[in-house]
Structure formats: structure tokens, C-alpha cells
């Protein structure tokens, strides 16, 4: 506690030192950036135009007010005037602002028309928001993966972790696997959500859109050909406890590098085998621990202890994790009827779910000894 306060005092000192020195560090950013797409640049331009119009109006209005405050005061012996009405003046300051607004409305509508033009996209990626991660599905390529907050950041951001988060320059804006796109191509995103509302936003790409369960929304961006790089953003629509911890990272690569990435990322062609896949207990537990950490621990806790803050009961010793396997698989595949926060997880693979369920039934002293194989999950899916 006292170290927190000391650190705080030290930071205040730094803030004032920086203010006094007039330091122009990026941290003291004042304005939107132009971004790396044509759309984001035109939005920036629009933003600056409106801002300047507002500044000019402010100059006139506040100027008149300040003049009046300085000159028209009783202490200077002024006698108050008695005028209180003028139709001409009222008409003037109704019509002039209206014309200014019309002048602003036209470029705004033009930019909007450009943003709403979804034709001729060259790559479609389906983006699904989950509490609290993103899933990306390259629709024509057979590549799909989850993108989750980086493990180190996730450990550092825990209450009382004792980790100095300022050591991470991209604190909370780093993921295990970023979205990779080619520059110079029109990328169409198809947005939806599994559980609650989310919003996909990378400021440098320009604009955001809500991901809504039951809807498929479109948005698009095209990174300028000379602007390859890594662009960061995060979920912008309140989506529950870890809303602040579901970052978005986009790596924009030149086309050839993108092609190489895509080829490497595509799953190897697996020889079709009639033999069902079988894993050993150690394999299942090791994979289960990993997947549990990625998909389940946000609510159920790192050691199955649950979360009092979210009223999630412990998995450790729970009736479901230690009870009949069928009921356990049902909750994992179809979600919980008792608590809507536990949504269906059937989008995970049979192997992933088998590992998670095996892990939950054997870790933290649950010790049922059950082994769940992918075939068991596949069988339970139909029910």
C-alpha cells in the first residue's frame, strides 16, 4: 500500500516535471492521428475542419463575452442599456449558424458514403467477439484462431500482482496471435458476437463497429501500401468484467510476406484416418491446462476457485466437474441454464474440449480419474 502511494507521489513529481519542461512526449498526446488508411485520413481531416469551425465560433462568442465582462461592469460606473429585443439580430444568428452547418454537413455525408461502400473487397474475415477475446476466421482460406490478451500482460494486470506494468510499452495492447492482413487490399470484416455486445476498433484504421449477437455487420479498411506495420486497438463496447482486457492487434504485411504467413498458418493436410484420435492422460492434461488458461480461467479462476465478484462458484470440488460426465459435457457444449454468463463453447474443437474437460475433472483435487477423448465430445455434440 505504502509503495503504491510512494510510486504515486513519484509519478506526480514526474508529471509536473514533464509539464514544466514542456516535454512533447507522445504520452501527452492531444489529438487524433491521421491513421494509415484513406478513410482514417479523411476522418481526421473532417475532425480538424469541424474543430477549427468550433474554434472560430468560440473566438467570436467568448471574445464578445470577455469584452463584455471586462468593459460592461458596474464598478466602472456603466449605466445599463435597456434594449432587449431585435428580430433582425435573432434571424441573423439563426440563419448564419444554419448555413455553417450545411457547409459542414456536405463533406461529412461524402466521407460517410465512402465508408459505407463495401463493394469489391479482396479478403473477407469473420470477426467474432467473445467474453473476452476475439476470434478471426479467414473465410476462404480455412484459417481461424482466437486472439487473446498476452499471458504476461494478463498476469501483470491482476489486482495486487506487484508487477510494474510500465515495463510493457504495449501494456494491455498485446495478443497471443494478431490478425494478419496484406497492405493495399480492401479487407472486409464481418462482425458478430457470441455472448454480449463488443465493438471492434483500431484507431489507426479509422472507425469502429459493434459486434452484436445475431447480427452480421460489415466494415472495411485498406491499409496504405506503404504503411506496413503493427496497429493496436481494443474492444470499445462495455462487455463485462474483462472489457478492458480484450485487445486487438493487426499486423499489416506486404503481400508477399502475407502470402508466406498464410501458407505457413494453414493447417497441414491431415491424412484421413478411420481410426479415432486417442490421447494419453498426460497429453490431455497438458493441453487441457493450456486451453483452460486461455478460455476458462477468466471467470473460473486460475485454479478453479471461481470468482466471488462475478458469482462464479468454484470448479474445484464442484458437483458438475466431479459428477456424471454427460452433464459436464452438456454445460460445456450448450452453456449453463443457471448462469447465462456460461455460454456454449461448441465452437472449440473436439480435441480442445476433450482436453479441457479432462483437465477440469482431474485438476485441483477433483481426481475423478476420467479420461475424455475427442470421440466422446463428438458423440455428446449431437445430444
Amino acid at each position: 500500500m505504502s509503495t503504491v502511494i510512494l510510486k504515486g507521489i513519484a509519478r506526480i513529481a514526474i508529471v509536473f516535471a514533464a509539464l514544466a519542461a514542456g516535454a512533447a512526449r507522445a504520452d501527452w498526446a492531444l489529438n487524433m492521428t491521421e491513421g494509415v488508411t484513406e478513410v482514417s485520413a479523411s476522418v481526421y481531416k473532417l475532425h480538424m475542419q469541424i474543430f477549427i469551425v468550433c474554434c472560430v465560433i468560440a473566438l467570436v462568442v467568448f471574445g464578445a463575452m470577455i469584452w463584455s465582462i471586462v468593459r460592461h461592469r458596474k464598478s466602472l460606473g456603466v449605466k445599463p442599456a435597456t434594449f432587449h429585443d431585435s428580430l433582425e439580430v435573432e434571424i441573423a444568428w439563426t440563419v448564419i449558424p444554419f448555413l455553417i452547418l450545411v457547409a459542414m454537413a456536405i463533406p461529412s455525408a461524402q466521407v460517410l458514403i465512402g465508408m459505407e461502400d463495401f463493394r469489391n473487397s479482396q479478403l473477407s474475415i469473420k470477426v467474432t467477439g467473445y467474453q473476452w477475446k476475439w476470434h478471426y476466421d479467414y473465410l476462404d482460406e480455412g484459417v481461424a484462431f482466437f486472439s487473446t490478451l498476452d499471458r504476461e500482460h494478463n498476469a501483470a494486470r491482476r489486482l495486487g500482482s506487484g508487477v510494474d506494468v510500465t515495463q510493457f510499452p504495449d501494456y494491455l495492447l498485446e495478443v497471443d496471435e494478431p490478425l494478419v492482413v496484406p497492405v493495399g487490399k480492401k479487407i472486409r470484416l464481418l462482425l458478430t458476437a457470441q455472448d454480449v455486445l463488443h465493438a471492434w476498433w483500431v484507431p489507426a484504421l479509422g472507425g469502429k463497429k459493434d459486434a452484436i449477437p445475431g447480427y452480421v455487420q460489415e466494415m472495411w479498411f485498406k491499409v496504405d501500401a506503404d504503411k506496413a506495420g503493427v496497429y493496436r486497438g481494443q474492444c470499445a463496447e462495455l462487455c463485462g468484467r474483462d472489457h478492458g482486457f480484450m485487445p486487438i492487434v493487426v499486423r499489416a504485411l506486404p503481400q508477399d510476406e502475407y502470402d508466406a504467413w498464410l501458407a505457413a498458418r494453414k493447417p497441414a493436410v491431415v491424412a484421413v484416418s478411420s481410426e479415432p484420435q486417442l490421447f494419453s492422460k498426460d497429453e490431455l492434461l497438458a493441453a487441457g491446462e493450456k486451453h483452460y488458461g486461455a478460455f476458462c480461467s477468466a471467470c473460473h479462476g486460475g485454479s478453479g476457485e471461481g470468482s466471488a465478484a462475478m458469482s462464479v462458484k468454484p470448479l474445484k470440488g464442484s458437483a458438475i466437474a466431479k459428477g456424471p460426465l454427460a452433464a459436464h459435457l452438456d454445460v460445456v457444449l450448450n452453456g449453463s441454464k443457471a448462469n447465462p454468463m456460461m455460454t456454449a463453447w461448441k465452437q472449440l474443437s473436439d480435441a480442445e474440449l476433450a482436453a479441457i474437460v479432462t483437465y477440469e475433472r482431474n485438476a485441483w483435487g477433483n481426481a475423478t480419474g476420467d479420461l475424455v477423448q475427442p470421440a466422446d465430445v463428438a458423440a455428446a455434440r449431437g445430444k
Binding site: 507522445a26 492531444l30 473532417l46 464578445a64 460592461h72 442599456a81 463497429k209 481494443q234 470499445a236 462495455l238
Partner: protein
């Protein structure tokens, strides 16, 4: 001493019971009172308590955001704090405070002896403590207080635990209270004006409240309907807002903001009224463009019903919808601009003095206008795709609600405190309160514009280190602003206990409305003989 004797003597002739008569009679007086001044006082005291409760939630938020990393609270509790801060401030502090002003001032300004429906008046106040007991009790419940944001968007809000029905019923009660208050205001203004007080002779404060009351009656039932649908979605298996059952989560947002946008004008129109009373008084010059001020308020009220979807540009509306709501929203700048220009023209060539109410009113015009500018920027749909759900929006609505509504309430308190209590407040301390509040509130909210433009989303408990510096400045401003309000409480108590002396019936040289013709404090029943308005 003689004051006390006089009061006591008054009491013997069926005046209100004071503590000197014993606790029981005193408590019964306040519980059963039908007197508009008593009820006005109850509303104002209640809203001040809620202001501090809601403010303490804001202090938790600013403490957690003081530096990056989680230091004090779980993210879930943080979300509860942002949700409860908004609900308490909107429904507990700002709205009841303006109803309190309406209760005190409308009968005195239109020359009526009381509100038209005094018993309903009592009921509409006494619902509120129950509503907020329900709402605040959720802080101690399994799963914590509501944490889905004050906008209550499904499906997230349906994940709320035991708190959910309590929050919904609390909102129902607040709505009932507001509707009854609004009916009372309309009935009083339309039926109980003194002879000669035609509609276009009413003080602007009365006009703004008349229009606000119609807005309340139009939209509070809509909110009640929306939260009831949430309730049946959660407990009775309806699927109004669940896509899997044929419902639509976006429908809720349309319904909510059909309530929500007029709601923000419910919180600002009476503030316009207050400022339109104060500036002419201290400029010693009649309000410029009275008729256009009335028409501007009516236009704003009308437009408030056709702009709601600018709160939800990012839900993916069709192009035509986005353009319509963008243009309609931009139009609001016209009548709002007319109001600001008229206030400046009222000051122009006046003979101004700068007592505390005037200082707050002038700060209102400056800072509310800044909030208006950011509002105009937010109206531009393509730019809003960048601003939406960032700290830029947080900065915007706090400029209109804190330096707008709350500053107008402060101005009103200083302006009418001498009338209500008969005592003068401490002018030097009042000016200290003003300057501290104004400096800290700008330190608090102005940097939030920068944070939002740099890309910081709202409603997050922790953030990237690039946002650390302005967040620290903002938190320091927040703590300063919070502490400065303790001075306000001291000034209030000091004034009630005698202040710096007797105020006299007309403490301000320029006051022209009817309330200044009554003694200070006004008799328990004023205007029992209606005044004749020239």
C-alpha cells in the same frame, strides 16, 4: 433569541413543527408535509446527499485510474462504480435537485400559494428514498451492484446477479416519482398563475420547467417499458432482446435512447432557465430575446425526440438512417446557439457585478458551450466512428452535465439561498468555492478530450501506459473537485445558521421576478392573496 421566540410563537399558530417541538412532531412534519417549500427543501437535501454518494463512486473510479495497473478494485467492482455513479447522479442528484428548485420557485414565481396537487407532491418525493435504498442495497448483494453500464444494454445487463430486479424496480419507482412531479408542475403552471401572468410573461425558469415536464411525461414511461422487457427477458423467458429467440438486442438501444436523449434535455433545460434568471439580474438589464428563448427551448425539446440514434451510430444502421440522425442532431446547434447568443447579448452593455451566482452562471455559459462544441463534433457520424465510446464522449457529457447542469444548480443555490433562508451566505467563501470548483473541474475533464482522441475507450479500469499522464492529471482534478464540494456544504450550513446577516426581501439589485417581492424567508404560505401582475 428573538428569532427563536418569533418562530415559536408562529408555531403556536399552526406553523410547521421544528426540532424544538420534539423529534416526533418534527419528523411527522417532514413525512406528512404538503407544503411546496418543505418538499422543495426535502428534494434539495436528498439530491445533495445523492451528489456526495455518486461523487464517492467517482472518486473510486478516479483513484483506480490514477495510474496504469489495477491497484484498488476488481474490474467487476469498477464496472459497478461507473454504472452506479451514473444512475445515482442522473436520477438521484441532478433530476431531484431541479424538481426541488421547481417546488420552491414555481409557485413563488407564478404567484400561486402552493403546487396544484400537494398530496401527490408529498408522495412523489417520499418514493425517492425507497427507490434509492433499493438501488444502493445492491452494492451489498451476491454478485455486486449492476455493472452493465447505466445504459443497461442487453445481453450484458442480463448477466447481472441478484441485483437485477432491485435495479429495475428502483428505476420504476424513480420514473413514477418523476412523472408525478411533472404532472404537478404542469398543473400548477397552467392553472395557478396569478391574474395578469400570461404565459409569455412567465419567468424563463418556469417556461423551461413547463417544457421539461412534458418531456418527462413523454419518456419516463418508455424507460419503464424498456426495463420491464429486460425483466421479463431475464425471468419469464421472453426474448424481446435475444436474437436466438427472434428478438433484437439493438431494439433495446433504440427504445433506451428514445428515452435517453430527451432525458439529457430534462437535465439541461431547467439549467437554461436558471441561467436566464441570473444573468439579467446581475447585468441589471432585461433578458435579451425573451420570446426567442422560449421558442428555442421548445425547438430543442422537439428535436430531442428525433435524434436518439446518434448515440448508436456504430450499431450499423443503414446509410439513410445515419445521414438523417446526423443532420437532425446538427440542427440542435441552431436553437442552442440562439440561447448562448441571447445570454451574451443580455450581458452586452449591462452593468455587471460578479457575485457567486453570476460567476457560476458565466462559467456555465463558457463551459456548457465547450460541451456544445464537442457535441457538434460528435454529431458528425464519420468522425463519431472514432469518438464513439471513448473518453472524448466522457469529456463531452461531463462538460454539459457537470459544468452545465451542476454549475447551474450551484448558481441557483447561491442565487436563491438568501430568499429561502432569509440569511446571506458568505460571499468570499462562495467565490472560493466557485474558483476551486472551476479550476479543478477543468483539470478533471478537459484532458479527457485528449485521452479519447488518443484512443482510450471509456469504461475500462486499466489502460496502456501512453494514457498514464493525462489520467493522472484528470484524477488530481477529480480529487480536488470532490473536496471543493465539502466547502459548499459548509457554506450551506453556515447560511442556514445565520450566515453573514439578514438578506432582506431583495438581496440582488437587479431581481425582477415575483419571488423578490416576498419577504426573506417567505412566509410558510406565500401568495395566499395572489399578486397582481402588470
Amino acid at each position: 433569541m428573538s428569532t427563536h421566540a418569533a418562530t415559536h410563537d408562529h408555531h403556536d399558530h399552526h406553523g410547521p413543527a421544528t426540532l424544538a417541538d420534539g423529534f416526533g412532531p418534527w419528523a411527522m412534519r417532514w413525512l406528512t408535509t404538503t407544503n411546496h417549500k418543505d418538499i422543495g427543501t426535502l428534494y434539495l437535501v436528498f439530491s445533495l446527499i445523492m451528489f456526495f454518494i455518486g461523487g464517492s463512486f467517482a472518486m473510486v473510479i478516479r483513484a483506480e485510474l490514477f495510474q496504469p495497473g489495477l491497484q484498488f478494485v476488481d474490474p467487476m467492482f469498477f464496472n459497478s462504480m461507473t454504472t452506479m455513479h451514473a444512475l445515482v447522479m442522473v436520477f438521484g442528484a441532478v433530476m431531484p435537485a431541479f424538481v426541488g428548485l421547481a417546488n420552491w420557485m414555481i409557485p413563488m414565481q407564478v404567484g400561486a400559494p402552493d403546487m396544484a396537487l400537494p398530496r401527490m407532491n408529498n408522495w412523489s418525493f417520499w418514493i425517492l428514498p425507497f427507490a434509492f435504498t433499493l438501488l444502493l442495497s445492491t452494492l451489498f448483494m451476491d454478485g455486486g451492484a449492476p455493472a452493465g453500464g447505466w445504459t443497461l444494454y442487453p445481453p450484458l445487463v442480463l448477466q447481472t446477479g441478484a441485483a437485477f430486479p432491485f435495479a429495475v424496480f428502483a428505476i420504476h419507482l424513480m420514473g413514477l416519482s418523476s412523472i408525478m412531479g411533472a404532472i404537478n408542475v404542469i398543473a400548477t403552471i397552467l392553472n395557478m398563475r396569478a391574474p395578469g401572468m400570461t404565459l409569455l410573461k412567465m419567468p424563463l425558469f418556469v417556461w423551461t420547467w413547463l417544457i421539461t415536464a412534458y418531456l418527462l411525461i413523454a419518456v419516463m414511461p418508455v424507460l419503464a417499458g424498456a426495463v420491464t422487457m429486460l425483466l421479463t427477458d431475464k425471468y419469464f423467458h421472453t426474448t424481446f432482446f435475444t436474437a436466438a429467440g427472434g428478438g433484437d438486442p439493438v431494439l433495446f438501444q433504440h427504445i433506451f435512447w428514445f428515452f435517453g436523449h430527451p432525458e439529457v434535455y430534462i437535465m439541461i433545460l431547467p439549467a437554461f432557465g436558471v441561467v436566464s434568471e441570473i444573468i439579467p439580474t446581475f447585468a441589471r438589464k432585461p433578458l435579451f430575446g425573451y420570446d426567442s428563448m422560449v421558442y428555442a427551448v421548445a425547438s430543442i425539446a422537439f428535436l430531442s425526440f428525433i435524434v436518439w440514434a446518434h448515440h448508436m451510430f456504430t450499431v450499423g444502421m443503414p446509410f439513410a438512417g445515419e445521414v438523417f440522425f446526423m443532420f437532425a442532431t446538427m440542427l440542435i446547434a441552431v436553437p442552442t446557439g440562439v440561447k448562448v447568443f441571447n445570454w451574451v447579448a443580455t450581458m452586452w452593455r449591462g452593468a455587471m457585478t460578479f457575485e457567486t451566482p453570476m460567476l457560476f452562471a458565466l462559467a456555465f455559459v463558457f463551459l456548457f458551450t465547450i460541451g456544445g462544441f464537442s457535441g457538434l463534433m460528435l454529431a458528425i457520424a464519420p468522425a463519431d466512428f472514432q469518438y464513439h465510446d471513448t473518453y472524448f464522449v466522457v469529456a463531452h457529457f461531463h462538460y454539459v452535465l457537470v459544468t452545465g447542469s451542476i454549475f447551474a444548480l450551484m448558481a441557483a443555490a447561491y442565487y436563491w439561498l438568501p430568499k429561502w433562508t432569509g440569511n446571506m451566505y458568505h460571499e468570499t467563501l462562495g467565490q472560493w468555492h466557485f474558483w476551486l470548483s472551476t479550476i479543478f473541474v477543468n483539470l478533471l475533464f478537459f484532458p479527457q478530450h485528449f485521452l479519447g482522441l488518443a484512443g482510450m475507450p471509456r469504461r475500462i479500469p486499466d489502460y496502456n501506459v501512453q494514457f498514464a499522464d493525462w489520467n493522472m492529471v484528470s484524477s488530481l482534478g477529480g480529487f480536488g473537485f470532490g473536496l471543493s464540494q465539502l466547502l459548499f456544504v459548509y457554506i450551506l450550513v453556515h447560511t442556514v445558521r445565520g450566515g453573514t446577516g439578514k438578506a432582506g426581501p431583495k438581496p440582488w439589485e437587479g431581481g425582477t421576478a415575483l419571488e423578490w417581492e416576498l419577504p426573506s424567508p417567505p412566509p410558510y404560505h406565500s401568495w395566499t392573496e395572489p399578486p397582481h401582475v402588470k
